[in-house]
């Protein structure tokens, strides 16, 4: 088997142009889903009757179905629903079908990621002992202050390794955004591959790019973890 190295080099450089888009989808998805997931995790922890049942059903459904299916489902449902809402209910004249496709990608990945992050936050908050909250309340902090200053900083350190896995999973999932006609890493190389029938070369290059991106993300998380867990070392000394 002879690989076309010239084509591989070209595709690699062209596909690198898709990295910013992949990262944009990843970061915006995280920004949207982290606050919602946190609120959902809290409602589940505090056992509010209605919302906790809703959260359980939502998490179970999202984690029980393939993400391709979620993408196809929402991508076929959302545009016409939005169009209906905007045109007939609000009476605005916005052309939904001309909207940037990246918006749909962010909506789909957020819906998926919220379920994953809810579970993650719930277990992370669970690792912080009950006594911490009680002690904070005794000192006279309000519940909000206690969460912000005592509970969350500790839970964050516990959540980081899992959060790193989640972000890597999210980056891998964005490779499916080509189903929504978003021009990210996979879509660009796929197009180049189809033009010259150099499929193997193109897919090997995509794999290489994902490996590089994931390595950078993991290094970043290792750095953050090192910084945030500094307080533990001070305690040990």
């Amino acid at each position: 088997m002879k690989l076309n190295t010239e084509f591989m080099r070209e595709t690699f450089i062209a596909s690198l142009g898709g990295v910013p888009k992949t990262m944009l989808i990843t970061i915006l998805t995280l920004l949207v889903s982290i606050p919602i997931a946190f609120a959902m995790a809290l409602s589940k922890l505090e056992n509010k009757k209605v919302s906790s049942k809703f959260v359980t059903a939502y998490v179970s459904f999202i984690r029980g179905t393939p993400i391709v299916l979620q993408i196809l489902f929402i991508y076929s449902l959302l545009p016409s629903t939005l169009n209906h809402l905007i045109k007939d209910v609000f009476g605005l004249s916005v052309n939904v079908f001309k909207m940037n496709k990246i918006v749909y990608a962010i909506i789909v990945f957020s819906l998926n990621n919220i379920a994953v992050l809810t579970e993650l936050f719930r277990s992370a908050l669970g690792t912080v002992g009950h006594g911490q909250m009680e002690a904070a309340m005794t000192v006279g902090l309000t519940k909000r202050q206690a969460y912000r200053r005592i509970i969350i900083p500790q839970a964050l350190v516990a959540a980081l390794p899992n959060l790193c896995n989640t972000v890597i999973g999210l980056i891998k999932n964005t490779s499916l955004a080509f189903l929504m006609a978003v021009q990210e890493i996979t879509a660009i190389s796929k197009m180049k591959a189809a033009a010259g029938y150099y499929y193997i070369e193109a897919y090997l290059m995509i794999a290489l790019i994902y490996i590089i991106v994931c390595t950078v993300v993991q290094l970043l998380f290792a750095l953050i973890e090192h910084q945030l867990s500094a307080y533990k070392k001070r305690l040990a000394v």
Binding site: M1, F61, R63, G64, F73, L77, I211
Partner: protein, 235 residues
């Protein structure tokens, strides 16, 4: 908007039901072949000999970073071309072979981690006691460690199975006719009408499968760890 026909969801469920077998077979094949590689990986990581361990770590790292769909395409286009060099033509093989190959490569690292964690969860004293009482190294593993490690592995294994099933839905992109593939064909045959109903039907099938997997493994864990609870409560 298209009108929504809830009754068509049931039609979809009935039509897609036979294809659950394909999805399950794909999972079984992956667990068998991926499990074989996974055992080697777990062994290499536990034994701590430098070269095998480094290979296992690099393998785990690389496969963790590659999206399933990319691996699927690399195998689908790459393996036939590679084998053709040696005069072996597998272009007319069933799509299932490529799917199982791709997912075995990917999930071997997950399975390896499951096995390793389960093995390490068993107290080393168990092996030492077994060897002391005259069992051979293999007997100690087979009779003492394996039954205990299997119970520890169950929750992670069930998680991995659910993940495998969900990622397995991607196999439709190289043309495997499983639940996802047949659902897409169904949409094509209906010329795009009943799209939402079909997707909903597929989602219900996958959701139900997840539910069943988790139920079975939950029961299994409860049953198998019975003796353990008894032992600790007596002591």
């Amino acid at each position: 908007m298209h009108p929504f026909h809830p009754s068509y969801v049931f039609t979809v469920l009935v039509q897609l039901f036979p294809y659950i077998g394909v999805t399950l077979l794909m999972m079984l094949g992956t667990v068998i072949f991926g499990g074989a590689i996974g055992i080697l990986l777990a062994k290499a990581k536990i034994k701590r000999r430098i070269v095998p361990r480094a290979i296992a770590e690099v393998y785990t790292y690389l496969t963790r970073c590659v999206p399933s769909i990319i691996m699927l395409f690399i195998v689908y286009y790459g393996v036939p071309a590679l084998l053709l060099q040696f005069g072996i033509n597998i272009n007319n093989f069933s799509k299932g072979v490529f799917v199982i190959t791709a997912f075995s490569i990917l999930f071997a690292s997950n399975l390896g981690e499951v096995f390793r964690a389960a093995y390490l969860a068993v107290d080393p004293g168990q092996r030492e006691a077994a060897v002391c009482s005259g069992l051979s190294e293999f007997q100690a593993f087979y009779r003492i460690i394996l039954p205990q490690a299997a119970v520890h592995a169950l929750p992670n294994f069930s998680n991995m199975l659910v993940n495998l099933m969900k990622e397995g839905a991607l196999a439709y992109s190289i043309g495997l006719i499983d639940v996802m593939g047949e659902g897409n064909l169904l949409i094509g045959r209906n010329q795009g009408s009943y799209t939402l109903e079909t997707y909903l039907g597929m989602a219900i099938i996958y959701w139900a499968l997840t539910f069943v997997i988790e139920l079975i493994f939950g029961r299994l864990e409860k049953n198998l760890s019975k003796g353990k609870k008894h032992a600790t409560s007596v002591a």
